[in-house]
């Protein structure tokens, strides 16, 4: 975790990602591009997880960002540059989040999760059925002809897309980092600890959650719009609850301690997925489930915390006693 928190390391990683790109094969560039785009959606999930809010419906914003781009192109809007399309996607998504956030910021626990799921499934059902608008289950092909003014060709398309996503992802991550290290960000951690005490201190819990929710939605929209312009095709599945579940998975996988962890976790996730599906297509979900079980039962802080704990145990050579014991659990077991 320290590795990721260290600012110099992060700058070094971004610089490395920048300079190493021309030497990478195009399949790897594409994989990293997709992983970064999806990692931004996961970053939104993590923002909410910091206040213990699990959004099982972030696919709503992922799909909104993508479909804002797709529908604009389908309607014949004379916009061909990817950057303009992405800005449009993020703007549309932010409006959606700003409206739905008014309602959803009042909810906690499973009700927050259920309501976000309901919203995302509403969008899914509309995208599937309103064929004149969304193309139905076939989805919409998306063609951006230029990226920030750069013409693309068959040789350069993957590289240009990679730089495009890397640049925007860096901006988004730095912005999010600033937010999490501002009073608003610390408030989210305080809400996680004890919401009522935060209210007694004079801070507005609902406003803090609302702002984080809108930011999370905007990040989801950015991820969706970037996916649309780089993959070149979008479908209603982006809003289905299993996709949202996948985002929650990656968020827990990376842990919520750092804003860089989601992107790192997303890259690992896409790698493992592309290999696991190739090697054994029928055990991919089982693998995911197994890892998630380990996270929930053994390492609630994400896989990173497990690595940290192992390292701590090895250097100190002392048994870990941090295991959480709940008195209610004990009484239930012994009754």
């Amino acid at each position: 975790m320290k590795l990721i928190r260290n600012r110099k390391t992060v700058v070094a990683v971004v610089v490395l990602l920048f300079f190493v790109a021309p030497f990478l094969p195009s399949w790897l560039l594409f994989l990293l591009t997709i992983a970064f785009a999806k990692g931004l959606v996961v970053l939104g999930v993590v923002l909410l997880l910091r206040a213990d809010l699990v959004s099982f419906g972030q696919g709503l914003y992922y799909a909104s960002g993508a479909y804002a781009v797709g529908i604009a192109l389908r309607a014949g809007l004379p916009v061909y540059d990817a950057l303009a399309l992405v800005v449009l996607g993020v703007a549309a998504t932010t409006v959606v989040a700003a409206i739905l956030g008014l309602f959803i910021a009042r909810y906690r626990g499973i009700f927050f999760g259920m309501l976000s799921t309901a919203f995302s499934m509403i969008l899914y059902s509309l995208l599937v059925k309103l064929r004149w608008l969304s193309g139905g289950t076939d989805g919409i092909p998306v063609h951006a002809t230029t990226f920030v003014g750069l013409e693309i060709s068959a040789d350069t398309v993957r590289l240009i897309q990679y730089y495009f996503v890397l640049g925007l992802a860096t901006v988004a991550v730095v912005t999010t980092y600033r937010v999490t290290h501002s009073p608003l960000g610390y408030l989210m951690q305080a809400i996680r600890e004890n919401e009522i005490r935060v209210e007694y201190m004079g801070a507005s819990v609902r406003r803090a959650i609302y702002r984080n929710y809108v930011l999370a939605g905007a990040l989801g929209g950015l991820g969706g719009a970037l996916t649309a312009v780089t993959v070149g095709h979008i479908s209603p599945d982006m809003s289905y609850w299993t996709v949202s579940g996948e985002f929650v998975f990656v968020a827990l996988f990376g842990g919520i301690g750092s804003v860089f962890a989601p992107l790192f976790a997303s890259v690992v996730f896409e790698f493992v997925r592309s290999y696991a599906i190739k090697i054994s297509p029928y055990t991919w979900q089982m693998l995911l489930g197994g890892v998630l079980l380990v996270i929930v039962l053994v390492a609630p802080g994400g896989l990173w915390s497990l690595v940290e704990r192992l390292r701590g145990a090895m250097t100190r050579r002392a048994p870990q006693t941090s295991k959480h014991v709940d008195i209610r659990a004990v009484t239930a077991e012994h009754s």
Partner: protein, 301 residues
């Protein structure tokens, strides 16, 4: 006139299906405060088991036994899945997160759901199972001027039996009394000598049996394919949220509401058949977050 009959019949059919899949979900939540995503998998396992048994015992639609026994095979297949997988899950995994809050249990059961998705693929493969013998054998009858498959009348009957069975278990058995005590106050019940872990296992198994039997009996109406659990669980979530999490009568009302509404939508505005379900779910959550029949939660500081 025909339209009204068709909408009612379809609505009742869909409502029975919804009740069968959501009654167990809401029951488990009511007793254990666990929102069980893996409930959909139990439905899927039941459906596969039912279809597989029918195809195995009556290959090509005929076999050594009289075809009428296929209904018993469906029932036993579902019950078998429920009483084996249910306690196994509860004892090994669900129990471990019972004290770590509802959100944790949601994530854990999601993990179990993912694993069981592939377990089904590994056991039964990915080709569809079409075991329609119990369905087509009964033919159809004329109901109020509309031709209607007899098997589809069985499903509402099954839902009624399930509701009656649950009512009996909770209100007329010793276990039911203990369940009510545990719902009211788990710690005090435990202190007074109630074996709370056993009540949990029992309640979870009841829910699991309902889901699996529901799956087994729905199987003959359509082919069983990978991914059926995915669709079922999200619908069951909608129904239980509308009715109020933890309330079995609420699940009944929710199922009837959603069933009729969707039947009307299918007839009148087919573009919006799924939309109405989730829009109703969101609307109920916005106006009455604990559902139409949910209790009031005391906020603990």
């Amino acid at each position: 006139m025909d339209e009204v009959v068709i909408v009612t019949l379809n609505g009742v059919l869909f409502a029975s299906y919804l009740f069968l899949v959501s009654a167990g979900l809401t029951f488990i939540y009511g007793v254990m405060r666990i929102l069980n995503v893996a409930h959909g998998s139990l439905y899927g396992l039941g459906a596969y088991m039912g279809a597989w048994l029918v195809l195995r015992l009556w290959p090509g639609g005929s076999g050594g036994l009289a075809p009428a026994w296929s209904y018993l095979a469906l029932l036993l297949g579902g019950v078998f899945v429920g009483v084996t997988v249910g306690p196994l899950l509860e004892r090994t995994l669900i129990r471990r997160v019972a004290d770590r809050g509802e959100v944790m249990s949601l994530i854990l059961t999601f993990a179990v759901f993912l694993i069981l998705e592939d377990v089904m693929k590994l056991i039964w493969g990915v080709n569809p199972y079409l075991a329609d013998m119990p369905y087509s054998m009964l033919g159809s009858i004329r109901l109020a001027g509309v031709s209607y498959p007899v098997y589809q009348c069985l499903l509402p009957l099954l839902a009624l039996i399930a509701a009656a069975w649950m009512w009996f278990v909770v209100n007329r058995t010793r276990f039911g009394k203990l369940i009510i005590a545990v719902i009211a106050d788990r710690d005090v019940s435990g202190a007074l000598g109630v074996n709370v872990p056993r009540i949990y296992t029992f309640a979870f198994t009841v829910g699991a049996v309902l889901a699996a039997v529901g799956g087994a009996f729905v199987a003959p109406m359509s082919s069983v394919v990978p991914g059926i659990s995915v669709e079922v669980i999200i619908l069951a979530f909608a129904v239980t949220t509308i009715g109020g999490l933890g309330s079995v009568p609420g699940a009944g009302i929710g199922a009837i509401l959603v069933g009729l509404l969707r039947a009307i939508a299918v007839q009148r505005w087919p573009e919006f058949d799924l939309f109405v379900v989730y829009a109703l779910m969101a609307l109920v959550l916005l106006l009455k977050p604990r559902g139409l029949f949910g209790g009031v939660e005391v906020r603990r500081i």
